[in-house]
Amino acid sequence: MPLITLNNVSRRYETGETTVHALRDVNLQLDAQAFISIVGPSGSGKTTLLNVIGCLDKPTQGAVSVNGTRVDGFDNRDAAQFRGDNVGFIFQNFNLLPVLTVYENVEYPLVMVQNVPENQRKERVMRLLDAVGMADQKDKYPSQVSGGQKQRIAVARALVADPKLVLADEPTANLDSVSAHKVIELMRGMQHELKTTFIFSTHDPKVVREAEIVYTLEDGQITNRETRAGLTN
């Protein structure tokens, strides 16, 4: 069974007189444990698609299932609960909490979302911080580390609660090419190691090359699916 199923999903935005079709009748099945990229021109609906999959946004039409659960009818609270239990997020602007240390940022989903007891948190947080190479910076605040480091911390935060799925909307857009490459390498390494599913959107061809499966969106529709030679499918 696929991890994610979209059936005839559309998302319209009504802004005054005009209607924008951000997604049109999208049918999509994504398998678990894949490293998936979504590409397409600006305004093609990449962010909207990721938001719908990640329960941040609801389709105006169609059905979305994630990990066997219909998620398109959730109310705010249920959606938050589902995201906390199943989805990790990596943002373009890193979005670390400035008042928390590196350690506390990674710990946040365990404390404020999952209610994991204190004695079980430390080991998991340190394991992730080690994996992203930030263990020695754990007591710094986000303002004291570089952009690439921030995104590594964000990767650790997205993975700390063992989600089924990690969504990353343009995770490298605010990074220089060296840092961008490192972050993508890290994401791929973690995906292999933890058997999580990663879906990320990007404009950067060098980043796209790292993906196993690449979907192309154009004007709210999926127009192409490519798999990298020598990998799955």
Binding site: R77, A80, R83, G84, F91, N93, N95, V99, V111
Partner: protein, 416 residues
Amino acid sequence: MKNIFKIAFRNLKRYKRRTLLTSLLIVLGVVLVIVFSGISSSFKTMMIGTITDSMLGHLQIHKKGYVSSIDNLPLHLNLGDKQIAELTELLDKQDNVEAYTFRIKLGAMLSNYKETTNIRLTAVFPDMENKTSPALADRIFESTKSADKFIEPGELIVPENLATGLNLKTGDDLVLVANNKDGSVNGIGLKIAGVMQGLTGPSGRDGYIHIDDAKALLRIDGNEISESAIRLKNPDDIKQTRARILHELEQFSNEKGKPAFELHTWAQLSPFSTIVTVVDLLIITVKIVLVAIVLISILNVMMMSVFERVSEIGTIAAIGTLPSRILGLFVAEGFLLGLFSTIAGNVVGVLALNLINLANFQFSFGRMENIILKTSIAPGELITVSLIVIAITLVSSFQPALKAAKMQPVDALRHV
């Protein structure tokens, strides 16, 4: 919970200047309330004490109808032997009664053989009176007598105004002339034993004589009194004690079946009680100002916090923080701000009251001069003020917090 407060606290620290400014405003409000109610309630207590401890007592019992005609000091409304016995028995078994006294009130003419004037007299049993009005004897100038015998038969204590006006001195001989109940006139000679310092109000012409002299002057056989004044052990319980005594007085009725006695509190007998009401009203007004300060400043600062942190709210909402927890984060922030400000306000307020005490501010009240203002505030009052501030803090941070909790993560995340 611990982590909610940790994050809330760090966010307060993050906007140091703003937090301090808001906090300062609340501290100022709390200090204002503490200092104001400390001063005014101490002033109030002191003034009440002066009136009750040297004149009125806390409660007074008369024959029914006496107080409404108290200005003519009617002798036909006195209480007789039987009622005195009833009152004695009733008052002796009251727990909260510290002491009581019996008095005859009368009007008389006072003459020093050259001039004549009218005077209001209170005839007393000196030992009973001293126990009930412990501050009375202190008001007699140059008295060499012990307080429980401040007046003896054959003696008169004249009020300060008359002593000055008629040029009277201790040791002078005077004549008192008064009408009896039946209308005939009688007179007795007395010696001045002291001059009584005046108090505010109608006491400007009040003198004291021994009750035996009053009986001789008025030709009273047996016993008769106009009023009984009662001093309570705990004046704060005056309401309950009044109700209890009133209930027991109900068993006594006169020939017509109407109540025999009437009972009044000092507040009902003194015009000063209106001042007390005004003071209480002022304290309430200052508290309302405090509530307004806290409400507006917390609401304002929390609104700013929410609007400044929209994208952070979007982030924590996106990664699964439940709306109720986001609400908790912001309410906790307002609560902490209110709590710290209240604590600081209490500390500064109590310090300020102590400083005022150290400064020995002097003021005068009526004829009493050089009263030193001693302020104090009841711990219960501090707790009440603190609870009000904290409750208002919670109320006013709730609305901005709810706004944060209800934000849609997509919209919040798009906000930069």
